[in-house]
Subunit: 386 residues, 2 copies
């Protein structure tokens, strides 16, 4: 029997919940506990896991207290007090991914610099910290996207103004609030793709198949695999993702969101160092899920096979609608509609635009999988049978 060990997970949302589900298979036992730092006692992971404590990921005190009880600390989101994480590392805590990796992804400017510095392709961009830089950036491209360098998530913090005037207005407002911006041209892309790498401390890594994603207002709606990308483009995505994982020196998961440009070039749009929405299909469609591989990576265990185990899979998010319908109320109809659909609900109160769950359908053909997954999501919204 090994020594007793606690894996601490900062955050207790749906990603923590799915990490816990994966940890039941062979991680949790008399010697290994998984413990969550939760903001509230009704969070998704708290509903399903026995070990948690209340605390804020942005509080140095809470993080420090939490880490004291843990042998390894990992994260289900990146909105954490980085100073505290750095201090914990200096004091000898095992933090995976590291504070350095978290710092890169917590700041879109730092992220761009890191990716570019590793010789990897990024879209044109510039940092904007004052009004002169703003005007310069807006003048540089026909239309621009403004992104808060820090603090945005899930489409929040990204602005797509319709004109240069509107860009200037929004930009000034954000700068006055003290923000630093990343400004880039609106890119014409052929597709949005994403790819997930799991990486151990020694650098061993496995890579999932690239997926094609559909985003609405910066929020992931649908993930398709196979991606339909040309083999050379898919290979380039893999190559870029592995290089990015090494550049960030991530331990755990790295999710890389890419734009595939007309002509087949790819550029890195965003990075995340945690389980990612574009990998939720891996629970039902891959030999080893992203969640299990995150656990294996941060516990320095050999990684699992990331291969697809079906010809095609589509994941569609269940996102709270304007009416505030609760998908739980329509679960029975959704289960009846498609006995092979894999329905995941996170135990969150229904609110507009909130990610409440996801549905994955595995099938022989990707369009068939998509039609079926969207039909089940419609049923979960109470929209009746399609």
């Amino acid at each position: 029997m090994g020594a007793s060990r606690t894996l601490g997970v900062v955050g207790a949302g749906q990603l923590g919940r799915m990490l816990h589900q994966a940890a039941v298979s062979h991680v949790i036992g008399p010697e290994t506990t998984i413990r969550f730092l939760a903001e509230h006692p009704d969070e998704p992971a708290v509903q399903v896991a026995p070990s948690w404590e209340i605390g804020a990921a942005m509080s140095a005190d809470d993080l420090t207290r939490f880490a004291k009880g843990c042998d390894v600390v990992t994260f289900e989101h990146e909105v954490v007090d980085l100073q505290a994480i750095r201090a914990l590392e200096r004091a000898g805590a095992v933090v995976r991914p590291s504070a350095a990796a978290l710092a890169i992804v917590a700041d879109k400017v730092a992220m761009r610099r890191a990716v570019q510095g590793a010789g990897l392709p990024v879209p044109p961009w510039c940092q904007v910290a004052d009004a002169d830089q703003l005007d310069d950036a807006i003048g540089r491209w026909p239309s621009v996207v403004l992104k808060l360098s820090r603090g945005g998530y899930d489409g929040r913090g990204v602005f797509m103004p319709d004109s240069a005037d509107e860009a200037a207005r929004i930009g000034r407002t954000l700068l006055q609030a003290g923000a630093v911006l990343l400004v880039e041209p609106r890119i014409a892309f052929e597709a949005e793709a994403a790819i997930i790498v799991a990486r151990r401390p020694g650098g061993q890594c496995v890579v999932y198949d690239p997926v094609r994603t559909e985003q609405v207002d910066g929020q992931c709606r649908e993930v398709r695999v196979p991606s339909g990308l040309a083999p050379a483009v898919a290979a380039r995505c893999r190559e870029v993702a592995i290089a990015a994982a090494a550049a960030v020196d991530v331990v755990g998961l790295l999710a890389v969101e890419l734009f595939v440009l007309d002509g087949g070039n790819v550029v890195v749009n965003e990075l995340a160092v945690r389980p990612h929405n574009t990998g939720h299909h891996t629970i039902d469609a891959c030999v080893t899920s992203q969640f299990e591989n995150h656990l294996r990576a941060v516990l320095d265990l050999p990684l699992g096979d990331p291969s697809l185990r079906c010809d095609a899979a589509v994941m569609v998010n269940v996102i709270g609608n304007a009416a505030g319908d609760d998908p739980v109320d329509h679960l029975e109809a959704a289960l009846a509609l498609d006995p092979a659909a894999r329905i995941h609900l996170y135990g969150k109160r229904a609110r507009p635009d909130r990610k409440l769950g996801h549905v994955t359908v595995c099938a022989d053909e990707v369009d068939d999988a998509a039609a079926r997954a969207w039909a089940v999501v419609a049923a979960l919204h109470g929209d009746g049978r399609p």
Copy 2:
């Protein structure tokens, strides 16, 4: 939002643990809790689930108290105080499977009668309650098997004497202890098979593919699917299983263990009304696991597709060896050996003959899957690479 609801599970062993893992997907939420009645605070399900209380399944008081907090009560084992369960039903509790179904499977004589009474095939057998009946039974067949009618499990309570004299000696000892026995001839069979049915209150059911099982001393060692049974035999297994589920009027799962006789006839050996060891492969090899379908059935939700999602799968149990080796100590080697193997460890202290976990390998071909699964189990026992 629906009304708040608690599903109570009597028992907190590995079956409860895997039920909990399945319940994370879409059962547990702000309105639905799953709660375990555990004998000890270190049991497999308690390690992974937030809601449980200590109590004995054989204690009427504990069961009654537990049931008071539950809207639906189900079971992960059948060693329960049936009188108390009957009283709970009379008082209006929703118990699934019912006391009547539990009573049938808790007593091998009652089980045989029920199966036979439904017109389904069983081996030759007789009930033995005194010495005269014992002598009569022993004289009837060249060699016999003695089974305790009540209280046996996992090979315990089954005796295979080598001679008539030994049979008489063992039988008398058991009778003197107050036991009732089921005595049957040792049957020459071509194969042992098992099949699992999930059944809702209204009678809707789904049936898993029959599997071929290998038992050692009455304990399940290996499960193979496809079973290799002739199509007509497999069809007969399905037919018998569905009829048995209706005869028992089970709500939840019915596992049917069968002997396939030379010539292809099948006879029902045993029934269980809960998730079953012969269905553990369904977690990784089927669209919907037996655990998820048990939950759906007892919550009266539409059942999930039980289809295999790979060409072949083999499950091998990890059973405590004489040396008391803990498979957790060898997890890293086992994970490294086969990145596609699915390793499940239950968090139980290692003891000889104890079921500590299982390994499932999905592959194109069943012998390949078996070789790989056994190799991973060997690695978990610290036996080195094969």
